[in-house]
Symmetry: C2
Subunit: 217 residues, 2 copies
Amino acid sequence: MSVKADPASGNLVDRMARDIQAGVFAPGMWLKQIDLETRYEAKRMEVRRALDQLALKRLVRHVPNRGYHVHTPDNRQAEEVREVRLILETAAAGSVVANATAADIAALRALAQRFADLILEGTLLDLYEANIAFHAKLLALGSNRELINIVWELRGRGPSAPVTQWKTRARIEQSNREHFHMVEAIAAGDADALRRLTADHILQTEERQPTQRDDGA
Amino acid sequence: MSVKADPASGNLVDRMARDIQAGVFAPGMWLKQIDLETRYEAKRMEVRRALDQLALKRLVRHVPNRGYHVHTPDNRQAEEVREVRLILETAAAGSVVANATAADIAALRALAQRFADLILEGTLLDLYEANIAFHAKLLALGSNRELINIVWELRGRGPSAPVTQWKTRARIEQSNREHFHMVEAIAAGDADALRRLTADHILQTEERQPTQRDDGA
DNA sequence: GGTATAGAAATTGGCGCCAAAATTGGTTAC
DNA sequence: GTAACCAATTTTGGCGCCAATTTCTATACC
């Protein structure tokens, strides 16, 4: 965001957010301030401030006099978040295609390749990180920064643990293929194809036949 | 949000947010903690917490060791926020039309009427509040609660002071007419018309001829 | 043996004080 | 007369302690 506002506190919020996302803290788990203090080697006040920020981001939930616990996303909410992401990310597809330079496309392809490589050799957490990196780069191509921020924040609200995201290996490999298809759609300047692929990717619908992506919607 | 989490702090954040929105604190103005303490009759800690929350909402900006100042929205950002609102609010139009009961429509019409009445008799702040109320009711008809929350938060980020929102009386009256047109579109079950009206309303483009709203897009 | 109750341990959250940093105002030197 | 420097006041922000509340545990009673 800003140049370097709140280096300590900001980093703590980010670290905690990542840990929640990565499933280090299970959904519903109570976060005791003392444990967080020792785990992150932070002062009590920093922990409290970070927890407040995370509560505002809906990543944790605050119960007065009981503490903070990891937010358990219910199905309805998760579905609604997906829907908003669908709306925004498909809306951004146009500018993504328009802004992508050859260098961007190459970088994207490299990131997609890294994800592909990690399917065999990496842990689930590695995959998770690689996926984040790919989508961060992809999203960053959009021209509307506010939209990017919102989508990025929204991504943090979905089903948290990486495990729940890709239940089967088949799903992982489908995601992987979709990454490459998205890159190709961008390379081809085909915004419509990117929109359709993005929708499928978010909803994790069954795979379409890739060669049919140029007929009607 | 929650049932009644943080009654004091939450209210303080809301009150401060309203005051910033209403232009009590001018954009760029430094918010001294002592002043806020006395103004809101709050403890130092509550003020600090509220300022942090507002900083996360991008309503104020934090400069370490200097304090907090009201965020000055630049044009690019405002434009981008408008664009995102356009995307989301038009996307919500369908479910708004689908969910609206006769009672909802009556309530909306009443709120639109209140706005209309206040054009002559009310202050600019009254108008501002009435406008908020109308759009709150309208937005609440959407079925995606996450979308509603995001749009509502986004509304808080636009050009803050009510004065900047409606520069001329003609603009106010156009907004007023658009309110009624939106209600009629909902009553007629015409989602497309609502979408178009919403877009115009957000972008504050020149008025279309209302009788043409049933021909093609 | 199970349950209820009372006491103990632990955890949260509020409050005030004090140090570090910045702004303001005054003074001095050029 | 202007500019720079220094001191005094103001303001921010960090830290630790203590009270209020909750949870755990052990004991007694049914």
